[in-house]
């Protein structure tokens, strides 16, 4: 009852979809990649290294805002930075999506989907209780 689909059924599903979409472009996923700007940054860095100010400009952000995003990506080891003089240059990190990160994200995704469905069930239950005259909650 933990996350069975993740380790078996969902895995097969992933394989199945992989076959269909393996050519698709690099775009976004797990934890650090849930944010569109960070996905964009990685896409950009796949093409070429860039400084934080380059990236800030490209994504119409402040330096501080971009530095935060880079910090998140750096922590996930998706991006590496190197300071030369006054310029901090970003490049793709050593680790892309390793097995653990992939597992963790799939795990979260599985539960997020379950829990969203549970929300619906709970709304139904609340509605029924209200209809039956019982005050829900407090």
């Amino acid at each position: 009852m933990r996350c069975p689909l993740l380790l078996s059924g969902q895995c097969r599903e992933i394989l199945n979809q992989m076959a269909q979409y393996s050519q698709s472009r690099f775009d976004a996923s797990f934890g650090a990649l849930s944010d569109p700007t960070r996905r964009g940054v990685l896409e950009q860095l796949m093409r070429a290294d860039a400084s934080i100010s380059d990236l800030a400009e490209r994504f119409h952000m402040t330096l501080t805002g971009m530095s935060k995003h880079i910090g998140v990506l750096e922590q996930a080891q998706l991006v590496a930075t190197q300071k030369v003089g006054r310029v901090r240059t970003c490049s793709l990190g050593a680790r892309r999506l390793d097995d653990e990160a992939a597992w963790l994200e799939n795990y979260r995704r599985l539960w997020a989907e379950r829990f969203d469905a549970l929300d619906t069930v709970l709304e139904d239950l609340k509605r029924k209780e209200k209809r039956d005259g019982r005050k829900s909650g407090q």
Binding site: Y21, D99, E100, W111, E113, F115, D119, L122, L125
Partner: protein, 171 residues
């Protein structure tokens, strides 16, 4: 080691965290009293309505839950790719109505023990789920389970996951 993955739309975040070498923790808040969340978790007719993610393509064939200390549960799934149904089963170690459930996962020899707590917070419920593996090795095996199922390299998996998140392609 702590790794986090988060961010859910509409402020209804499901947060997962690898809390230690052998423990995963997931938290989520529901807009309903703990009594109802517990009910949805322990009543098979309700449980069936939310447990199987649509994106998995799997179908829940049967669901038995004997929710009391020492009672068992058993879930059987069918998958569109066919093959024998997969069964997941275990026993309830602790049952505190509207507050706490602890169960074993016995389909694999080194399965985790899962603890779910339901905390009432002004009519909402904070749910915390922990999966504690017997050892670091057991958790690594669970993680590697995914690896083994992959005939291709992880680069391809990277691409696939990234594509999925980019807009969940139609099937």
């Amino acid at each position: 080691m702590v790794e986090k993955a988060g961010n859910e739309p509409m402020g209804k975040r499901t947060i997962s965290e690898r809390r230690s070498e052998r423990e995963m923790v997931i938290t989520r808040t529901f807009d309903a009293p703990a009594r109802l969340v517990f009910k949805a978790w322990t009543t098979p007719e309700l449980f069936k309505q939310w447990w199987v993610p649509k994106s998995s393509g799997a179908t829940l064939l049967s669901c038995e839950q004997d929710v009391r200390v020492g009672g068992g549960y058993r879930l059987e799934f069918a998958h569109p790719q066919g093959g024998a149904p997969m069964a997941f089963f275990g026993r309830y170690l602790e049952v505190v109505p509207d507050a706490r459930l602890v169960w074993t996962n016995e389909e694999s020899p080194d399965g985790a023990v899962t603890t779910v707590t339901f905390e009432d917070r002004a009519g909402k419920t904070l749910l915390v789920m922990r999966e504690l593996y017997p050892s670091k090795e057991a958790m690594d095996i669970a993680i590697e389970g995914m690896d083994e199922a992959m005939p291709e390299t992880f680069e391809q998996l990277d691409e696939f996951l990234l594509t999925l998140a980019a807009g969940t392609p139609g099937r």
